[in-house]
Symmetry: C2
């Protein structure tokens, strides 16, 4: 493509509202432009990257036998009322009415539409399994759109859904998807990890997130330094083995602690280490009160709490609710002297059981207990893993020690089970003529988000550095002086020749200074730069590799052979 | 693709709510399914056709130097307020609010977005012209969605926009687009015509519609039987040469006609031919009253009226308004004795001027004039071409006679001029440093509509008959008996072989009766059917061409050569 006829508006200055590198560079190099908060236009370079990602995703989906279709963005509300999500999805769902005042929404995912479609057409186990996918524009009214394409309100997704007669078939397709995702992110040149994620009520290993490792990631990944274990921090099992300190149990004592509320303040005042404090937090779990106990140096993990109770909604109770239910302020909660009238379940993290002569709130304003010994001083408690894992904890798989890193989610595979087929009555007849709900899986990839994720991970201080698999062009051909007949002739001839040979070439034929052209070229980040300048008179062109910075001159006649060799190597 | 693993739900019955052939067949053959009125899912076969059309469109757009980008569906209201369309677009525009109560809309076209984009980035004539296009999902809340993909509420369009420093450059790109569109619709195998369309205020030959000829088309095309002239009936110039009958002008007379109102009733009663009646209709043109006169056998063309006055809105005045303004009922209007107090312009079709001893309303309930002679009996009239052309009229290009046919619009090219650049201040500096508005063109193709248009035009009584350029697959390979080892082996081997050779193959490996497979195959409409049945034992397969119905047996070893020959021929 001739750069003069394309639309690649580059910027010298870093746009002020772009916080992270990929966002800055995609704007500066002319790949995207914002239309409204979280809503972007893909400029000619941007859509080329997007389409190359789409092509790779399609190839890998097709390879595992997934079949493409295309569902509408406009979803009628009735369908989402069937699944229940019309009520539960909240303000992220973009809702609208048509001219007849009928409710619609713009799909953020398509479980409802695909479940209805398959329910209406498939009646027998003979037509299962079925693996369907689409690449389609989605909408989610993010509270805080940011980081360019990483968290937008209109974005491109690949979403796949599978339907099965039995769980074995789901497991098999899930594993194929896992492999396909691994191939996709590998082909995209990403440094990523598949991590165990929150599978909600399903439990087990029913879901993985594919995370691109990056400082700017919004998720924390707990991984082992001694194995390939990796999990979203929300999900990583705390597998530490605890031991009781070898110490006499002393008599329980109530102490005045005044307005000291936090673990740090109370621990310092009472001269007890935080590890001996019992942190007590009141939650509502699907409307019921639950007092959650963890060690003072640990944090309650509400996802684990939610999964423990197989609940939909877990929320920390407010100060007012705590006062009403437990008759004392938030900072004085504890399990020893609860004065509640309504029922409050108590669940404690395993580590709490091993505390000896600990301290906790006395359920009385201004007072804490010391010398608390769990089994002696409070009973009726369920013990479970309800805390966040910490760096330094042993890896749950028994190999190595847990470390943390940041990641951005670019893919998610999930065993849905019968969540939607139950709600929407998607049933089939099995071999025995018995009606059963279809078992489902869903599998997403953030296509437009990947543009940013790749840019974030592969760029350098001069600009973008695309892996060849998704670069908008293979070669950036630069003509230094368009008024020099010899140069111009060689550049034009190379432009035609290279395209005939199957290379995608961006040809900078603009009337600009060489400095501008070189800076733009580094910014745009095409893998190979080919410069036709003064040395054209000697039949020489310059080759430069964007990533390594290697640069050399070569004879015109040797260009093709060298390019072939380069593209095999990089 | 193995049919057993795909999702091609065919129907034996014709769906009741599908009125036209293409809609019925696309549903029956498993290409689309309706999700809500005017909102469709493209099933696996449907999206393959859609993508093939997209590919052809992309190739032809790229060939004329148009550059692809992708704009968002969500458009902020502010932009449309700048252009004025937020107010004028009406209920077809799908509007919604985001979580912050900000107004958005779902783009039915993208003039505003592209104009803002180019306005923000292009400041100099040196960056012009610019031709940008996208293939993107659009939304329009049709009052009466129907005919499947022909008139939907969510649909795929190719929309292109060009920006120019001068009108010559626009003309040049417009012509290139015209050629590209002609190539596209030719490659799609369509019987189409480019017709002159309503260019509104711009006038001249500033716009063409590309119409697929079809009985079910919603537009009427006036074409010449003696040249390649074709125009939307709204636009076709009435070029008849009129002559005054050689007859004495008789004195004007008022006659009682009672409650006879229509031309037919009045003409019969007064024994005057309709050609001698002056039909008078009151319109509001941008809020002003206009009395339009045409001959009794002609019809007022409101598009011509609108263009004559360079107006935005032309509407027929209601009975109430007529009474108020002209003090008489609708059926007694005429230009001779107007009793209006407020100003009413009178515009007459050229043909009116040539009436001798005609008849018209007397602006008095129950009375008409006879022996009306225009120049003698009423003055202050502007004469213009304001009637619809009729079959039998001479062609405006002077060659042949006008005939009518029906068409469905699948493309539209339009010289926008400065409509948007003026409103949205998209200006550039010309060679002399002078600020000027950009001159624009816009160019649309209804991609998803084309799926229906092609289906409508090419199908037969057995099902769809795709041209090879857009067929979802090249070959439909049918295995008759999947339990016959010899048949199965040959079919499997052919499936692998043909795909290796670059053919796209749908392989019917289902456990179904041969009758079902053949009927489905005819319904689905892939160009070539290859059947492996009993004769596999003799190393024979059967080839059938869907379109012509030709069918023959051939040896396995000759299949490839014959297929190659077929695909060169069809």
């Amino acid at each position: 493509m001739r750069q003069s006829a394309s639309f690649i508006p580059t910027l010298r200055e870093t746009p002020q509202d772009a916080e992270i590198k990929s966002h800055q560079l995609l704007l500066r190099a002319g790949y995207i432009r914002q239309l409204a908060s979280g809503i972007y236009t893909f400029l000619p370079l941007g859509i080329r990257v997007l389409q190359k990602i789409e092509k790779i995703v399609r190839e890998e989906m097709d390879r595992i036998g997934a079949v493409e279709l295309l569902m509408p963005a406009l979803n009628p509300a009735e369908l989402w009322q069937e699944s229940g999500r019309w009520e539960t999805y909240g303000p992220d769902l973009m809702r609208l009415k048509d001219r007849h005042e009928r409710d619609f929404l713009l799909g953020p995912t398509h479980e409802e539409v695909i479940t209805k479609l398959v329910r209406d057409e498939v009646k027998s186990y003979k037509k299962l399994p079925l693996i369907l996918y689409q690449i389609q524009t989605k909408f989610r009214d993010e509270k805080r759109p940011r980081f360019g394409l990483l968290r937008g309100r209109e974005f491109v997704m690949k979403d796949a859904y599978s339907f099965h007669a039995d769980r074995e078939s789901l497991d098999e397709v899930y594993d194929k998807m896992y492999e396909a995702y691994t191939r996709i992110f590998t082909r995209l040149g990403l440094n990523f990890r598949a991590v165990i994620a929150d599978s909600g009520a399903i439990g087990g290993k029913g879901t993985h997130e594919f995370m691109v490792l990056s400082e700017v990631g919004e998720d924390t990944i707990a991984y082992s330094d001694g194995s390939d274990y990796a999990a979203n921090i929300e999900m990583a099992e705390a597998a530490a083995a605890y031991e009781k300190p070898d110490e006499e149990e002393r008599p329980l004592e109530k102490r005045f602690t005044g307005d000291r509320k936090t673990i740090e303040e109370v621990a310092a005042f009472l001269q007890v280490s935080p590890e001996r404090c019992i942190k007590s937090l009141l939650f509502t779990v699907d409307g019921h009160y639950v007092l959650a106990l963890v060690r003072g140096d640990h944090e309650v993990n509400d996802v684990k709490l939610k999964n423990f109770f197989d609940a939909q909604v877990v929320e920390l109770a407010g100060e007012q609710a705590v006062k009403e239910v437990l008759k004392c302020p938030v900072g004085n909660l504890g399990p020893v002297a609860m004065k509640n009238e309504q029922p409050v379940k108590v669940v404690a993290d395993h580590a709490v059981k091993y505390i000896v002569n600990g301290c906790t709130g006395a359920n009385e304003e201004g007072y804490h207990f010391v010398n608390v010994n769990p089994e002696r001083d409070f009973q009726g408690v369920e013990y479970a893993d309800i805390r966040f894992i910490k760096e330094g904890d042993p890896s749950p798989d028994g190999k190595g020690t847990i470390r943390f890193t940041k990641g951005m989610e670019v893919g998610h595979i999930f065993k849905l089970g019968t969540r939607y087929s139950d709600a929407m009555k998607a049933v089939f007849l099995d071999e025995n003529g018995k009606e059963r709900p279809m078992i489902m899986g869903c599998y997403g990839i953030g296509i437009s988000r990947l543009v940013s994720a790749i840019a974030e991970q592969t760029s350098d201080e001069k600009g973008l550095v695309w892996p060849k698999s998704v670069a908008p062009f293979d070669i950036h051909l630069i003509l230094i002086n368009e008024r020099d007949e010899k140069q111009k002739q060689m550049a034009e001839e190379l432009y035609d020749f290279l395209r005939r040979e199957g290379f995608e070439v961006l040809y900078d034929d603009r009337k600009e200074r060489p400095g501008v052209k070189f800076a733009d070229s580094d910014l745009i980040g095409i893998p190979v730069r080919l410069t036709v300048g003064n040395k054209a008179a000697e039949d020489l062109v310059e080759i430069k590799l964007r990533k390594s910075g290697e640069m050399w001159e070569t004879e015109r006649s040797r260009v093709f052979a060298q390019l072939k060799e380069i593209f095999e190597r990089i």
